[in-house]
């Protein structure tokens, strides 16, 4: 950070945002070319430092003395902005390294985004920067903007410096940046810092949000990502930023793609865990607010920047038209806000101030002929009410509506409260002067009341998250060594069922008593030991779908039945799959029919180990009613996972079912999270199903599949 009163220690990325001197390498004298534009933008946007054009054989660019090489510049150069063609950028970067430049913003395109040749160029650049300790933004980016008057840096394509504000915007897409700048300009929204980071070969969005966390100029961080490489890193960083002292909200637009390394999975978990579904769940766990549109991004951002945080979700609505008031009420309730009853005192005040025809319950309808006096009185009354946490003022222009005066009284109202306020003046051109007044006073305005509600919900969600305790991961007591031993003896691919059961048993899952039997007699003997009807399940590395080859025999009562079933099974398999290697068959007790749940885990290429839960059968197959979390899973998260599936009530006695052992399920989720976190070789794991018993009887794993990566991946 620059040396200014109240500033803290300097940060490695300061040379990106607060360079004292900048050299632009590859400037050309021709206007309306990229190199020339970038130079001119820095020059004309009020940059407070010193600017050096590097342009061989040119005396000057825009009357600023030009140098042949960055090495020829006699002074120290903090930052280099490079716009040379991609094939010579490495020369430029080498010289920057020699010069002792601290940060490089590489605007040039023609790197990883164009293919393998470009990727090689990029790797080369990155290595030089790493070796010389230079921070690299880009390549293939639009540049960096810092509206802090200490810097006034516009090292970008944007022709005009955006207005100053407290919102930071980070984008992977250059094209989006120009659209966003235009959008913000139209709405009078300002930025603190604005970065297009392109191919993120050096500095990533994770580095940047860490920086912005500490930036005193920034209150809200907006992020646009197309590709997530280090999802876990983002989650862990975001968790630190969005909680604790100095917490700041992060709002993210992430378009659908992620980096996919793994093959398509054969398991349930794999096919359900489409990138986006996991991303959604995981990002929420990180405290990141994910939105789908630029509109929504800024709608929420301005609420969180301009207005104080709400203490709760209780919304008071003041409107001069019944219809919009009702619509706003519906929207608020649907989105998760409350519409509280007012205290007696408030009702009294409203009764006095408003005409008899007015509605003095929430939403307050001051009716169509209301002027500023009624709005003022109503607003003050509801803001004073202890049952109210935030307020929304709706206005529709009628012939006597004094729009500007009403806007002024909203402004006055906001100045005398610490509760957040939003407005919806519905009427386009007619109400523009009122909107201008609100905008100037930093009162968020939305064309539709629903948008205001949505923004307030996000603001509340952040506030609740910010104040919630960080998750605690208390490991459960497990035998990791035993599980490892089993896995060490297994090859890459799907483990045998008995091996899977062994692993689960080592991790404390409710696994029925079982034995891998190698003969009919062995099986009969063990069945007799169990003294209950048993199940026979063939074990063979070559049989993936046991049922297809009649490799599962159910409900075998007594040793003779077992022996007979064994012989029938093995005979049949020998006929239909003669080449299958038979290790034996698992014998275990029949598990009574009941409610099924599915527990799954997947090592996601972006987020690392993730865990999935859902009710089995139709709920998973048809309704896809599942939920995801990052592993390891805290007790609190496991509980919320179970409660968050839509079919949850079937576990608590809905439709005449018995209450299930829900805490047992939660514990299994935690154990699963621990298992995949502890063992890197596990790529996929499906427990499908686990039969859910009552709280007394407990749960039982009925089937499990575990897939392992090659042995050296641990």
């Amino acid at each position: 950070m620059p040396d200014q009163t109240g500033k803290t220690e300097s940060h490695p990325l300061d040379s990106i945002f607060y360079p004292k001197s900048i050299a632009v390498l590859g400037v050309t004298p021709t206007p309306d070319t990229v190199p020339n534009d970038i130079f001119r933008n820095i020059l004309t946007s009020g940059y407070t430092g010193v600017l050096y054009p590097v342009a061989p054989f040119k005396r000057s660019i825009y009357a600023v003395k030009a140098y042949r090489y960055v090495l020829d510049i006699p002074d120290e150069v903090d930052q280099a902005v490079i716009v040379y063609p991609s094939n010579v950028c490495h020369k430029a970067v080498e010289q920057c390294g020699q010069k002792g430049v601290k940060s490089v913003i590489m605007i040039s395109a023609g790197f990883r985004e164009v293919g393998p040749e470009g990727a090689k160029r990029e790797t080369r650049i990155k290595k030089i920067c790493d070796d010389c300790g230079m921070k690299l933004i880009g390549p293939n980016c639009l540049g960096v903007i810092n509206t802090d008057p200490i810097s006034m840096l516009n090292a970008s394509f944007a022709r005009k410096m955006p207005a100053r504000g407290r919102i930071a915007f980070l984008s992977q897409s250059g094209a989006l940046c120009t659209a966003v700048l235009d959008y913000a300009l139209g709405k009078g929204i300002g930025f603190s810092k604005f970065v297009s980071f392109g191919n993120k070969a050096g500095v990533t969005e994770i580095d940047l949000i860490r920086y912005l966390h500490k930036d005193p100029q920034t209150d809200v961080i907006l992020l646009y990502l197309e590709e997530l490489r280090d999802g876990r890193g983002l989650v862990e960083t975001a968790r630190q930023i969005t909680r604790g002292p100095g917490a700041k909200p992060i709002l993210l637009i992430k378009s659908g793609r992620t980096v996919q390394g793994a093959d398509a999975a054969a398991s349930h978990t794999g096919s359900l865990a489409g990138e986006d579904v996991i991303s959604d769940a995981v990002l929420r766990e990180a405290g990141i607010i994910r939105v789908d549109t630029i509109d929504k991004l800024f709608n929420s951002a301005i609420m969180m920047t301009y207005q104080p945080p709400p203490r709760g979700r209780r919304l008071a609505i003041v409107t001069n038209a019944g219809g919009p008031g009702v619509m706003a009420t519906d929207a608020a309730v649907n989105m998760g806000l409350e519409i509280p009853r007012f205290e007696a005192e408030t009702t009294g005040r409203l009764k006095t101030a408003l005409p008899a025809a007015a509605n003095i319950k929430n939403p307050v309808d001051v009716i169509g002929d209301a002027r500023a006096d009624r709005y003022s009185a109503a607003l003050r009354a509801v803001l004073d009410d202890d049952n109210v946490d935030e307020a929304l003022v709706i206005l529709t222009p009628q012939s006597m509506t004094d729009i500007e005066a009403i806007a002024e009284c909203v402004v006055a109202g906001s100045q005398s409260t610490d509760k957040p306020l939003a407005c919806s003046f519905m009427g386009g051109r007619d109400v523009q002067t009122g909107i201008d007044i609100l905008q100037a006073a930093r009162i968020p305005h939305y064309i539709l009341p629903e948008w205001a509600c949505s923004a307030l919900v996000d603001s509340n969600a952040f506030n609740e998250w910010k104040n919630s305790p960080a998750p605690e991961f208390e490991p459960l007591d497990v035998d990791a060594a035993a599980a490892r031993a089993v896995m060490d003896s297994a090859d890459e691919g799907y483990m045998r069922e008995d091996q899977c059961l062994d692993v689960l048993r080592a991790y404390g899952f409710p696994v029925p008593r079982y034995k891998l039997c190698t003969s009919a007699d062995d099986a009969a003997e063990f069945a007799a030991e169990l003294s209950c009807p048993v199940v026979l399940r063939v074990v063979s590395p070559d049989i993936l779908h046991k049922f297809d080859v009649k490799g599962v025999a159910l409900d075998l009562d007594g040793p003779e039945a077992v022996r007979g079933a064994w012989n029938d099974m093995m005979t049949h398999i020998a006929e239909v799959m003669p080449q299958a290697r038979i290790i034996g068959a698992i014998v275990r007790g029949m598990i009574p029919h009941g409610r099924e749940v599915i527990l799954g885990a997947k090592r996601d290429s972006v987020f690392g180990p993730t865990v999935m839960f859902g009710l089995g059968g139709l709920f998973v197959e048809v309704f896809k009613d599942v939920t995801f979390a990052l592993a390891p899973v805290s007790a609190r998260r496991a509980a919320s996972m179970v409660r968050s599936v839509k079919a949850y009530e079937l576990l608590t006695g809905a439709r005449g079912t018995k209450t299930a052992d829900v805490s047992g399920i939660e514990e299994c989720i935690r154990r699963l999270g621990q298992l995949v976190s502890d063992h890197q070789r596990i790529t996929e794991l499906d427990i499908n199903p686990m039969l859910v018993g009552s709280s007394d009887a407990g749960n039982l794993v009925a089937d499990v599949r575990i897939r392992l990566a090659p042995a050296d991946s641990d």
């Binding site: 590859g26 050309t28 190199p35 061989p56 054989f57 040379y84 010579v88 020369k91 430029a92």
Partner: protein, 87 residues
Amino acid sequence: MATLEERVKAVTGKTLNIDPGEIQTEHSFTFDLGAESVQSVELVAMFEEEFGIEMDEDAALAVETIGSACEFIARVCAEQGVAVDTD
């Protein structure tokens, strides 16, 4: 007749408005001599004009330095039967 290299430097100097005396063989057109995008096209055309040859634009634009330009042009001249003094 001037050597191929002298001629390449002369044409480069004229096109980029640089004294040929300052141009060295290892210089990159963009990085050391400051050629802009459109000037690269102009350079290709001026080399073609100077030597009476036709160059494939993709290959020609991929040439980075004076030295490799000399090599490239020498090759094309040989292919197209144009005599040059390569020193």
